[in-house]
Symmetry: C2
Subunit: 201 residues, 2 copies
DNA sequence: GACTTTAACGAACGATCGTTCTATAACACG
DNA sequence: CGTGTTATAGAACGATCGTTCGTTAAAGTC
């Protein structure tokens, strides 16, 4: 890895954890230069524009998410165990990677939902990719017979994302120590509902 | 209402819908002055500091939430119908009031979760108040016999907030036209789970 | 080790930020 | 109507914003 790539990565590391705290939109080149002990112009040269830097942070976030959440879960047997592992990794990934201030993309989703442009597009892409991944895992669980054949996959994914967001808000804003447990309770109740055969009425 | 209060309210109206789009943290006095056809200093005098303006926006948001979501629901019979009405109002309140860019407080919760200070405190206050309100409604539903006596109220509230957040993200970022329906499906399954008597095992 | 490429710096740009001050205009009240 | 009060404007402040430019130092290549 050349010198360029090396410092670019170092900048991204710092930008990543900074964005986690203050949001991707509030990133500033001056502050970032100070934190990385560089000049503004020197740092700037690596990205060409602030927006490109922000996009790089979002892409970095996606990559780390894949490595910290999705990939380890693939070691679990397909179906429900894998889905369960994925959720567990997801709920805790902000601790695993250097994310002192919570998931960058989730925060960006709330920040840019009404500001068209490349940043919003990138966030959207990430959210769709995540939902696809979750959807695949759910579909596998159906195929394995862990969930009912008529399971509404999108609905299940929808509710799982809700569980994640509720957990993050409870933890981060309300300091609720039970958030993780509540998430698991919600999830298990969810899959139990979709696991039992439909009742005759 | 004196002239002062009048323009102050006009400023808040504009700040409110602007913050809805770009976030409370990104509010700028210059832009706001332009939008309200005032001078920066004239506008500034009404609040004394930018932070005070932001706090005022958050308080305004709480007030409108109460009037658009909670108060109308109180007309419904207590218990499940009231809870159901509250969720319905909640899911659509960003359309009812002038909130082109989604709930200000929910966005602020993601923005300030790692930035201590009066703004975070105010957001926290709002979230707690909301959870209390929801909790009360759930408790009423238990008292009315709509839900099981051993219902974990906090758990139910936790999951309802998740449904809300999933709905907003699906609507705003993914343009999912089914988000509202999915929210209702999730909610009804939730209350059905807590309504039936516990199974003997 | 000489040469080329590239990475980093420092200074400066215009724009905007939040804030302060002073002066003038509009209002409220007797 | 006149007078005291309050609301608004305008100019200016230092700070920071993102970005550009020319130059120097370092890294990569033969």
């Amino acid at each position: 890895m050349g010198k360029g790539e090396q410092t670019r990565q170092a900048i991204l590391d710092e930008a990543f954890s900074l964005a986690s705290c203050i949001g991707v939109g509030a990133l500033s080149i001056g502050v970032l230069a100070e934190r990385t002990h560089m000049s503004k112009s020197g740092l700037f040269a690596h990205f060409g524009s602030k927006e490109e830097l922000q996009l790089a942070v979002l892409r970095e976030s996606q990559m780390r998410f894949g490595e910290a959440v999705v990939r380890p879960a693939l070691r679990e047997p397909r179906g429900l165990p894998r889905l369960r592992a994925m959720l567990a990794n997801w709920l805790d990934w902000t601790r695993a990677v250097n994310l002192p201030g919570g998931c960058v993309i989730n925060a960006a989703a709330a920040e840019f939902d009404d500001q068209p442009g490349p940043l919003r597009d990138e966030v959207r892409k990430a959210l769709i990719a995540l939902r696809d991944t979750l959807g695949e895992a759910v579909a596998r669980a159906v195929a394995e017979g862990h969930l009912r054949p008529d399971t509404d996959i999108e609905q299940l994914v929808f509710e799982i994302t809700g569980i994640y967001q509720a957990t993050q808000q409870s933890r981060r804003m309300l300091n609720d120590p039970d958030a993780g447990r509540r998430a698991i309770v919600a999830f298990e109740r969810l899959v139990r509902d979709y696991a039992v055969p439909p009742e005759k009425e």
